[in-house]
């Protein structure tokens, strides 16, 4: 499957942020919600919790572990779902491959789907499929409410969870407007050998009881120049991985200009009105490019778990070295 390694350097982060996001420009003269929150929160809490302040101040700066991202390359990742090509894998008669690819890649705990495929009844009476990974919001409500900084946004715009810090309060799950987060109510089954795996928020294996899980845009794969597991598994090439800094996107087959792809096809984001500024875009459609009829009400087939697919750590390592 296509692997695109992009080699252009961008050193000036300031410039990148200016280019990539008009919303950030607005911040210069508009009071952002973050600032209001900070001011109100700080004033209120400072008045009430003066004795605790030093500890809080010392800790609130720089939470989350250091990222291992390469200094010369600072990507701003985006996912684009071309719904014209997505037909929930029903014309192929298989479960949605994106979910299965994700399950296999991350040993996703049973009962969870980090990417979920919804069959949506549109207002015009048509039915279409909506794959929903984590939106990787630029203004992430989940990150704001986390009391311990266990969930955070890395330099490349991916919202990650540090499972060694998560206290399991589930405030982030209450805050997420897209319902993307899952909780390990039980101790999830881990593949043999996973306990010796090198845990990192970029590749959260083994899974732990009492912590929150979600899609992390395959942070471990994209930093090596690979597509996320869902995009790689999609037989329709409906999922693009994009980079805002370089304005480029690929589905593993074609390489396109990201901004043009989005503009030409009237792409939209979910719950735009909330101001979360997701980094996941959708191109409207109902799988027409693969012959899915709007009246076809067949729901997607249930995806197989990693156990059902027979994935092990060894097999994955073999696959990676090929």
């Amino acid at each position: 499957m296509g692997v695109v390694v992009i080699q252009v350097d961008y050193s000036a982060k300031d410039k990148i942020e200016e280019d990539m996001d008009q919303g950030d420009n607005l911040r210069k003269w508009q009071l952002s919600r973050r600032q209001v929150l900070k001011a109100v929160g700080a004033a209120g809490v400072a008045a009430l919790a003066a004795p605790l302040m030093p500890a809080f101040l010392a800790r609130s700066a720089g939470s989350g572990p250091e990222e291992g991202s390469k200094a010369t390359r600072l990507r701003q990742w985006v996912l684009v779902f071309d719904l014209r090509k997505c037909e929930g894998c029903i014309t192929k008669g298989t479960p949605p491959k994106c979910i299965e690819g994700c399950n296999a890649e991350h040993f996703v705990p049973e009962g969870q789907e980090w990417i979920r495929v919804f069959q949506v009844e549109g207002p015009a009476g048509h039915s279409y499929f909506l794959p929903r990974p984590c939106m990787q919001c630029e203004n992430p409500p989940c990150v704001k409410v986390c009391p311990v900084g266990a969930t955070y946004r890395n330099d490349e715009g991916i919202v990650l969870i540090n499972h060694e810090r998560c206290i399991g309060c589930r405030m982030c799950m209450a805050a997420c407007p897209y319902g993307v987060r899952s909780f390990n109510w039980d101790q999830p089954e881990n593949p043999p050998g996973a306990l010796f795996a090198n845990y990192s928020p970029q590749y959260p294996v083994p899974h732990r009881r009492g912590t929150v899980e979600k899609c992390m845009l395959c942070a471990h794969r994209v930093q090596d120049g690979k597509l996320p597991a869902c995009a790689e598994a999609c037989p329709m090439y409906a999922i693009y991985l994009g980079d805002l800094t370089e304005d480029i996107a690929t589905n593993g087959k074609d390489v396109v200009k990201l901004s043009q792809l989005l503009a030409d096809s009237s792409a939209f984001r979910l719950k735009e009105e909330l101001g979360t500024r997701p980094r996941v875009w959708y191109i409207p459609g109902h799988g027409q490019e693969y012959g899915h009829e709007v009246g076809d009400e067949r729901p997607p087939i249930k995806a197989r778990t990693w156990q059902e697919q027979g994935v092990t750590l060894e097999k994955k390592r073999e696959g990676a070295s090929k």
Binding site: F118, P147, F183
Partner: protein, 459 residues
Amino acid sequence: MRTPTAEERLEERVFRPLVHTSLGWYLWTAFLIAIIAFGLFGYTNQLRRGLAVTGMRDTVIWGLYISNFVFFSGVSMAGTFISAILRITGAEWRRPLTRMAELTTVAALLMTALMPVVDMGRPDRVLYLLRYGRLESPLVWDIAVISTYLTASLIYLYLFVIPDSAVVRERLRGKVSRLRQGLYTLLALGWKGLPEQRKRLERSAGVMMLLVIPIGVATHSVVSWIFGMTYRAGWNSTIFAPYFAVGALYSGTAMLITIMFLMRRVYHLEEYFTEKHFRYLGYMLVAFGLLYFYFTFAEYLTIGYKLQSEDKLLLQELLFGRYSFLVWLGFIGGQVVPLLLAVRRRTQTIPLLFVASLLVNIGMWVKRYVIVVPSLANPLMPYQWGFYTPTWVEMAVTAASFAGFALVFTLFSKLFPLISVWEMKEGWERAREVAVPSQAGLAARPARLDSDPGGPRHE
């Protein structure tokens, strides 16, 4: 034989439980401890097997624990608050009930603080909240404000325990163990009733009663913001802080009436907790209840008028759907009926006001539940409604939290007078000064005035 003075009668009455312990007390305490032990058993089960033993799952991620958290936080707000506003406004009838009110706050806050820890997926990491606490998180505001309120309430409760401890030590010398005698000596801080000491006590109480009001309001406001800071239908509301605060006053007042009624029965405090006190608290209940009704109305009218898609789904389920029984139980049973009982002269009897307070307690707990659960069950994406049925573990822990709440009162009643003796005496002294200004302090008996603190009287 001379008749005992009011002071002597009061001391006799409120010190009695400190010395004499009935069999009933032991049975009751054993009962409470049994419930707590069962709750602990449930909790160890949860520790061993994870939150999977609860009814919570990925859609409805919070349940009974968080409902209890909001409920106890609400109860905690009212106690100290009522005591403080009545002190500030110089309402003389407050005197016999301030201690009960302040104790309610402390007991409820202990349970409030416990509930989120019970709800945590990783209780072993609870200290991370202090180590890594982020100011941006409403949960951290909560920790700050609850610990502040608990500290302030404990100080506020303790202030008037200082002179009482000195009196208890004197009166019960030789009747209680040396350990307890030592405790009273320690808590009395060398109190001798000197003018200088009295002045300091007055000043401290003055500062504390001004402080606890904003802290109390802040506590319940911050609790509401755990919900109000999210986008969820039913929670995404700008009026949540005052809405919760008013609800807290309402449910806390009811809890105070319930507790006063029970203590009055158990420790025979009829002479001090009179019908007047219940009636006045009933008026407060009506005032807070009407305010609460106003907020409820404003909240649901604005949602119901616009009927945004997610709000509409929620409202349908609340008013007519799967939660409608609970919602209407909370509204009619917890708001309409109790207010009718408290507002009509004919039903303003102590037992009926007790019934009204019980209804409010139940109604407000139900209300907390229907704030927490349905908004979580309401689908954010095109999927099915979430389901939630509490398991025995959650119910056991809930029962234990209520038993723990009751146990605080039970134990306190054996250590300290349930009525602030100091405040009562102060009230009588003041009344005497008003009655006989020329012979201030010389009167043999307390005068019977309108400002009578509700002490010995035979209506």
